[in-house]
Symmetry: C2
Subunit: 355 residues, 2 copies
């Protein structure tokens, strides 16, 4: 199953909106076939493994990270293929959270006389598929907020000066986060200040044509028609409250969506739901303190990824989160830290935001 | 030598101002005696190890963390005792940085026909003795600045509300830092806000009667006569620029020292030098953002120890360092992080402050 997980991970930049899946066929203690799912429309992991195994699949045990499908989607059901190949046993990481499958695959296997077990390394599989699971069970993507700060929590000088807070390794790591995300979200303030492209530029990351959607929260459509991201391949989605300027922006290449306001701003919860409808599993937020504070205050961040540089920047600076309504210590948010590691000279801290 | 280091560490709360030293005697592959230095005036590590070994010391190899002394201090020279016991070889971690010894012990051993080597695990020994080495070679103690903050670099709400930023394990760890320090330094602002005692309260830490000296930087002697620390066992040193109120404070139990000003404040560099004259090896600073920022800005901090709690506190807060003169990114200080570890739910980061 550990090997099936590693295979699944190979689809991390391309499989979405489908789940990453890996499959290993073992017969008499030997691996006879391996497969993983690369991209929607192409063969599922099980089929690739069965094809690799050929006749050796007969009597084998299949280790699959995710419950095999029993329905006709873009490809025929994997359960049928496993039955037909004569697989003796199927060991599954987690049940498919997709309501169209959810246990039906396991039932179909049992009905065909194949032993089926579920739950092996389920924690690791669920972590790998957090975006997919979030979308199909909660109707919203997994929202990951990335920030770069000094050790004393500063993201820029008060003047705005902020280039290269973190090192090259941390920035390369962010490229990987982007490449794994269906969308990168920011606020109009960041667009006006930095004119970011938010594309995956690291050629060693094989994303195919899957540049993440650029998502900008822009109450009154202040987005410049000359913004870098509008000229790049892939889609730019601009969410606003007031769409009177939408025509020019559409002509410049953006898709403009009007949503309701919350606290006088684009309601980010509605944006996040809309991204689930657009089949985005994972959203990476790369934003300034205003949007970061708003999202954390409103319980809209699932995971924080902080790159902390080994510097003290002091008091004449900008902090990480603008939270004007938090006046008492009890207003603070508690984090559940899942990982701390060095990335070059910086420290990467990964944490869930608790309620 | 690793065992000698562990023995040396047993003196961490009591040996200062003397260095912590450990000694292991090995003959024919077997440990025949161990010793460590507990407190100034009592026997040195070598003597304790020789006493434990008795006749078995003859022909043994002595592993000693620090070069044995060859001069008469409060106790007779260890070199003489090693020679007399018939030790065959002496392996030393580092030469004694104390100019009264510094190589003389090794020379004396060689003159007596004993093989003497130096440098085994010298990095670890030097780290253990950083305070002692700093005092005898630089004329100032090793200055360790401890801070507790949230993950976003906040030490309190803007209102000052700040109790229990970090957890019980982190606070217990701070007790150990205090117990290892000859002095705990703070600013008058912290005294007025929190009325701290700065004593070692953890009874499991065997400090004997060695409560660290309390050191308060207090320009105009605003220290209340009712301050908690004045009533406690041990010494309270108050450094001021203007000593007109010193009489009452002395009567309340403080020692008052007038020093020159720097940037309108008590010159902390002079205070630190004065503490070296008082035989303080290690100073622990537990202070607010004003003194922390002043010390870091003026290059007076050797090591930062930050306890980072898993919380986001937001923008209506106080930052870690007040640095009014740092207006550009290039003013920031770079840290060399030597250790990151979890302490309960918090993360402890230990770092050197680079120039």
């Amino acid at each position: 199953m550990a090997q099936a997980l590693r295979l699944a991970e190979r689809g991390q930049f391309t499989a979405h909106p489908n789940p990453m899946v890996g499959c290993v066929l073992v017969r008499a203690g030997e691996v006879v076939g391996e497969g993983w799912h690369r991209v929607a429309g192409e063969a599922h992991a099980e089929i690739n493994a069965l094809n690799a195994a050929g006749k050796n699949a007969r009597g084998a045990t299949a280790y699959v990270t995710l419950e095999p499908c029993s329905h006709h989607g873009k490809t025929p059901p994997c359960v049928d293929a496993l039955v037909e190949a004569g697989v003796a046993e199927v060991v599954v990481g987690i049940e498919d959270p997709n309501p169209r499958v959810n246990g039906k695959g396991l039932t179909a296997l049992a009905d065909a006389g194949i032993r089926a077990r579920v739950g092996l390394m389920q924690g690791d599989v669920a972590k790998l598929l957090s975006g997919f699971i979030s979308r199909v069970t909660r109707g919203k993507p997994f929202v990951r907020l990335k920030m770069a700060s000094s050790l004393d929590g500063c993201i820029a000088m008060a003047s705005g000066e902020s280039q290269w807070i973190t090192g090259a390794e941390a920035r390369a790591d962010v490229q990987r986060l982007r490449a794994r995300s269906g969308a990168v979200m920011t606020g109009i303030g960041t667009v006006l200040a930095d004119d970011p492209s938010f594309t995956v530029r690291d050629a060693s990351l094989d994303i195919g044509d899957k540049q993440p959607i650029r998502v900008v929260l822009d109450n009154d459509l202040r987005m410049p028609l000359s913004a870098e991201m509008l000229a790049l391949p892939g889609k730019t989605l601009v969410y606003c409250i007031n769409d009177t300027k939408q025509k020019a922006l559409k002509e410049a290449g953006a898709e403009v969506v009007r949503v309701e306001q919350n606290e006088g701003q684009v309601d980010a919860a509605l944006v996040i739901s809309d991204l689930a409808r657009r089949e985005v599993n994972d959203v990476l937020v790369e934003a300034g303190p205003a949007l970061a504070g708003y999202l954390v205050s409103n319980g809209l961040v699932d995971e924080l990824v902080i790159y902390q540089s080994p510097h003290i920047m002091g008091s004449e600076t900008m902090g990480m989160f603008r939270t004007p309504l938090w006046t008492e210590l009890s207003d603070r948010k508690t984090l559940d830290i899942s990982d701390i590691r060095r990335v070059g000279a910086d420290t990467r801290i990964t944490a869930r935001v608790m309620d």
